[in-house]
Amino acid sequence: MSAYFEASLRHRIGNFDLDVELALEREIGVLFGPSAAGKSLTLRLIAGLAHPQNGTVRLGRRLLLETPGGPVLPAHKRKIGLVHQDLSLFPHLTVLENVAYGVRGEKQAVGVWVKKMHLTGVEDRYPHQLSGGQQQRVALARALAPEPELLLLDEPFSALDGPLKRSLRRELKDLQRDTGIPVLYVTHQIEDVCALGSTVFLLREGRVVQSFPVEKLWQAGSQVSTWPALGWGTLIQGEVVRRAGGTWLSWAGGSLELPVGSADEGPAVAFVPPQEVKVLYPDLPVDPQLAVNVIEGRIVERYLIGHTCTLYIDAVGLHWHIEYPADSYTDLELEEGGLVRMSVRPAAVALLKPQDMGETGGGRK
């Protein structure tokens, strides 16, 4: 049985090769991966703003794209909503006009959306007169008002702060449940994965290396096979415990201190982005923030691509992935097989817990 939305895209730009397969039901799919993995390009190809050299895009019963040889529907006929990272609100139109932009004929729907997105009272304002959160809502309302059959979101909440982001994510999930429109959400932040998605697509260097339902992240042992495939960051499954007045994430091989009071006790999954792990110089004083979580391990693999150096380190029962600019740590002569001391700030440990997810949107049943 084929999914509601399917896309198969192959495209080459310069040295970059994109080869992506996606399938989505009426749910939120999260396209997760580091920057320059091809996430934005994928969205553009699906939306029809660019055309792949080879590909098929099918939405419901409509074949939007088939190259070579088949139809190539232009962007404005695809009925696919797109919210770009910079929101692209029309500066010369009011909130109301922005939201109504894609709606033809009956304008009643516009009023409904203004209300639904809590924009009552600011309809006559211009985008530059709105707060960040309001602008996001306008962008969402505008994309949804024309009743698209698919919604694409390119890191829309990345510039917002924590509480606002969380509330908008909740709103998005509610919206998706109400409308039943499949949503493809692109992000490089792990918290979005858990908070939003029901299906996760891990994208790295132009390829979907894994796709799985998000519950698998909590299943014991699964992340060991899942995460290294992405080769990005470090995923830790463990438990949050309170001890000695602090909050810790604890697992079989070790523990990391978390910001005080940041979580309740219980099973948890944490993600450490590769840039957040700092290598320590043996004889230099350590930043107090880094002093707590000092870890010692052995470098298993090291390579340099462009201006970024990548290290894989076995430490405290985990396979760590860290990245740093090539011109850092040159004095340390880090080599494969050597020992290294590293640390991570408590605040940089992105904690994800099943509670964070709330209800996963839609779902494949």
Binding site: L96, E97, A100, V110, G111, K115
Partner: protein
């Protein structure tokens, strides 16, 4: 909830403004409706130097007969090129016989009639007239470009006969302009000390400007002015006007402007 979804199609808002709707569009429509430019088939092409005098004569003719042909002024070369390209001029009057012959060779004009002459005039802004030795000193002289026509070439011939042309050229004391009026203005403004110009211009400056300067006629270097009717584009009205220009009644006006009407070729 009452919605005023005005302009949600984002139409050009300035097209909505009162200005456009109530004023401009009706105005434009009215203008276009009344746009009528009479097609005049009787136009006379007059080269620059003759224009002031012919203009006055045209006004007098108009008073007498009730209507006179339109006058078009320009440089001889441009006018001749336009005639060759089909310009609706019925008569061409100019001091530049070369251009008249050019049109004759193309078979576009009838008989070329030389009808008037005017002297070459040397003018400067001082009160006393310039003497014959004036070119010996370090003076700058304005002349019309000799390549453009008889005005400049005649002045050059004069200077060459005086054996000062080469010196003026070498010492960069020759100011080359494009019309007799420009030469005079060059001398008036101080860019040059002396100017070879026409009697018409010299008289005009004397009448209009506070410091009239003084002019001297250079004998023996008169310019000849001629005219020719253009085939298939003249009319009885133009021919009548052409006759009038060369008639005795017109003579007094010509003289006032510094021309001498002459019969024959």
């Amino acid at each position: 909830m009452q919605l005023s979804c005005k302009n949600t199609t984002g139409s050009l808002y300035w097209a909505d403004s009162v200005m456009m709707r109530k004023i401009l569009i009706p105005l434009l429509s009215i203008l276009l409706f009344f746009a009528q430019f009479p097609v005049r088939s009787d136009t006379v092409a007059v080269a620059g130097g003759l224009f002031p005098c012919v203009s006055e004569l045209a006004d007098l003719y108009n008073d007498r007969v009730g209507e006179s042909p339109g006058l078009v002024v320009g440089s001889s070369g441009k006018l001749a090129s336009q005639i060759a390209a089909g310009a609706p001029f019925g008569l061409f009057i100019s001091a530049n016989l070369e251009w008249l012959h050019y049109l004759e060779e193309k078979g576009l004009v009838g008989e070329i009639v030389a009808f008037a002459s005017s002297p070459l005039v040397l003018w400067w802004s001082r009160d006393r007239r310039p003497g014959p030795n004036v070119f010996r000193g370090p003076v700058r002289v304005a002349i019309v470009d000799p390549a453009l026509g008889p005005f400049g070439s005649t002045a050059r011939r004069y200077l060459e006969n005086l054996e000062t042309y080469a010196a003026l050229l070498k010492e960069k004391r020759l100011i080359v302009t494009s019309t007799a009026l420009q030469s005079a203005l060059a001398a008036k403004s101080g860019a040059a000390d002396l100017a070879f110009t026409s009697m018409s211009v010299a008289k005009k400056i004397a009448a209009d400007f506070r410091s009239p300067g003084s002019a001297v006629v250079i004998p023996g270097y008169d310019l000849v002015h001629a005219g020719a009717l253009i085939h298939d584009r003249s009319s009885a009205a133009i021919e009548a006007f052409w006759e009038y220009l060369r008639s005795e009644e017109a003579e007094a006006v010509w003289q006032r402007w510094g021309f001498t009407l002459e019969p024959g070729e």
